[in-house]
Point group: none
């Protein structure tokens, strides 16, 4: 018999899962990773009095995206529960989604008059005003919602009859190439209709944006015009069993970047707005620590996300990655370590500064809290925790383990 | 979006996977395994500057065959992609296979006039001339190809309408028993037809071989006659996605024994002919090292197989196994360790000299190369690597991990 969602006792424990994006790395400067080189007394102390190990977020050798990685860490098999990136972008941008909607991740971009991409990100500068021009457009019977989230980034949602997520990306990811036609990925009416509307919308976005006064001003200032919308990562929301239904506990999300808010919302977390949580270098970690502690008062579980570790990995910036790790230790971990809650710390994948991309190298994991077995590891880094008491687990294992420590366990058999 | 076969950069890295057959062992002489007892300075040095761990080739407790083991090591789930041993034997013998063909592993054997097996291997001596007598025979509408590979070993392929791999082995594997009837393993026309043709062929082989002049001469010299063909391991080629299609890289095989060439060819490797690579004690390891290095110039990935470690395991010969391991270290590893490529070294299963058979004890694995995390292991043996940084992986994990190091990674999500 499966007894899911058993709340074992009314005084069940609480937990914080802190995910530092792209945390794992490979040895480089002085043969060390940024995490090894960083001064992290608080993480090390947690490691010494907790248990640690390595985590294959999806499976050994499989490189996780940030979206699939977080699904796995939240306990959802990404091969069974992946609705497409656009869904998370839309949810993270607070666009409500309903069955049948098709959501996209999108960028303001810069193209020439032949629709050749000059800059995929329009100089990393979007415009709420230009976004408003496109928001609410109707093509055939399909209504389009567009929201500019951060910088050049947007979320786009199409609502209408007979749409499909199985259409190709318009963004070729390579500057200098022509904007790609959106193509149906299955031979069906819904796929053909969706592709047709995407293509119409892309052209319409150019027509409405290219000559706009805002872009004239950008050109005058020597800035790149935001003169087209490029879309990718089509997705549709699928029915999913929430964390609360699966484990029985309430969960909150403290994150700056919208993708993570989107995944958290998708699995039923309460996404909190935190002043100064930007997902960038200027993010206010102290505010995030306070927000997490406050969230613990009304929730059983708090997911706390730090994005900037990953940014430095993609930029190949060893010192920057080391510095944000030290900030995480001093501003977040120092504050959270005495919370009356289990504390798990990990990454969602490795983004080594040496290769500037996600890779499948496993990430370190530590779990600290009442009754957790200890091991001999006293330093939280990729090398030390490999001999930790948790050995080598998978991303999908984390949530059931935490749920059991919390007292909300899934029992199989009697 | 799933981005399989993404080639991350044009300067992707290369890799060598060296498999020492039956490498793993159990403690025996002085409480040590042959690998522990062997003097292997080069393997130990790779271990010290690389990462190591244990590998369950299929799954803990499941004893791998050499064929399924190599499928797993090449990244193919042997429970989903096993076409039957005969397919690999035929491919390894350079007999082309097409859909619907049924291939068998076969032996020259010695039987008495009652078709009682006196020696399953005809004194381990085959005959190309006797093989030629049987090659090309037709029974009903089925054409039979037979090739004598090494010693008593043969590959047999049947081509014709409506054949099936689901027939039983004729070889009972036990001397003193009668040659077994080939029986249909499913109640279908194809199975009945295939079994009928096998039985006819077996009897025909006895009729054509028993009184042949070559066997008369063998008897005169006191040798066992090669007077029948025994068949087993029926298989049919199944459609399979090649390594190149799956991972994007080109691969070459350097091996002496035909089974391994067959598996390599099945997954799309370019099987190289190497002078002196025999798969036996007299194999020329130096030639294999040079062949592997040369193959690396035109391929991204090289699979290098050493058979003789397994032979000594089956013979229960501790000193022989230790000696071939030392030769591997001195003649292969010493030459390969400075190649500009990732180098992975492992076994396909354990063949302990104490039990003289394959067993499920995990095998040691080391991975060495640029950016690989290290651990504290400085000796490559079954005991030392158990505390290595790779922990305990499965055979199926090896290829995705190497592919990611090479830059031909499989990403799931964005």
């Amino acid at each position: 018999m499966t007894s899911a969602n058993t709340k074992s006792n009314p005084d069940a424990n609480k937990a914080i899962l802190m995910v530092c994006d792209g945390l794992g790395d490979r040895p480089s400067v002085n043969g060390m990773t940024p995490l090894q080189a960083a001064n992290t007394p608080h993480l090390d102390a947690l490691c010494a009095s907790g248990i640690s190990g390595m985590l294959d977020i999806i499976s050994p050798g499989i490189v996780p995206g940030s979206d699939t990685a977080h699904l796995a860490l939240f306990g959802y098999d990404p091969y069974k529960n992946y609705p497409g990136r656009g869904v998370f972008e839309a949810l993270g941008a607070d666009i409500p989604l309903h069955a049948g909607d098709v959501a996209f991740r999108a960028n303001f971009a810069t193209v020439d008059k032949h629709l050749r991409v000059l800059d995929r990100r329009a100089g990393r500068k979007g415009s709420k005003e230009l976004a408003a021009l496109l928001d609410g457009l109707e093509i055939e019977d399909v209504k389009i919602t567009l929201k500019n989230t951060t910088q050049h980034r947007c979320a786009v949602v199409m609502k209408g009859e007979g749409l499909s997520r199985y259409v190709s990306d318009v963004d070729s990811h390579v500057a200098g190439t022509l904007v790609q036609d959106c193509k149906p990925l299955k031979n069906g009416t819904a796929e053909r209709k969706t592709a047709r509307i995407v293509n119409t919308f892309i052209k319409l976005s150019y027509e409405l944006l290219n000559e706009h006064q805002i872009n004239a001003e950008r050109r005058q200032k020597g800035e790149l015009p935001a003169n087209i919308i490029l879309m990718r990562g089509a997705g549709t929301p699928e029915p999913i069993t929430s964390l609360k239904e699966r484990f029985g506990f309430s969960a909150a999300c403290v994150a700056g970047a919208s993708l993570y808010k989107g995944v958290a919302q998708y699995v039923g977390m309460n996404v909190l707005q935190v002043e100064g949580a930007t997902g960038k270098a200027d993010t206010n970690l102290k505010n995030k620590a306070e927000a997490a502690l406050q969230a613990l008062e009304e929730h059983d579980f708090v997911f706390l996300h730090v994005k900037d570790t990953d940014n430095h990995g993609h930029d190949g910036d060893f010192e920057g990655k080391k510095a944000i790790i030290e900030r995480v230790d001093a501003e977040l971990v120092a504050r959270l370590k005495d919370a009356d809650a289990y504390l798990a710390v990990t990454g969602d994948h490795s983004t080594p500064v040496t290769i500037k991309r996600h890779c499948s190298d496993p990430v370190p994991l530590l779990i600290h809290g009442n009754g957790v077995r200890t091991d001999n590891v006293t330093k939280f880094d990729e090398f030390s925790v490999a001999s930790g008491g948790l050995n080598r687990l998978k991303g999908l294992d984390v949530m059931p383990i935490l749920a059991d420590f919390m007292g909300y366990y899934m029992m199989y058999g009697t």
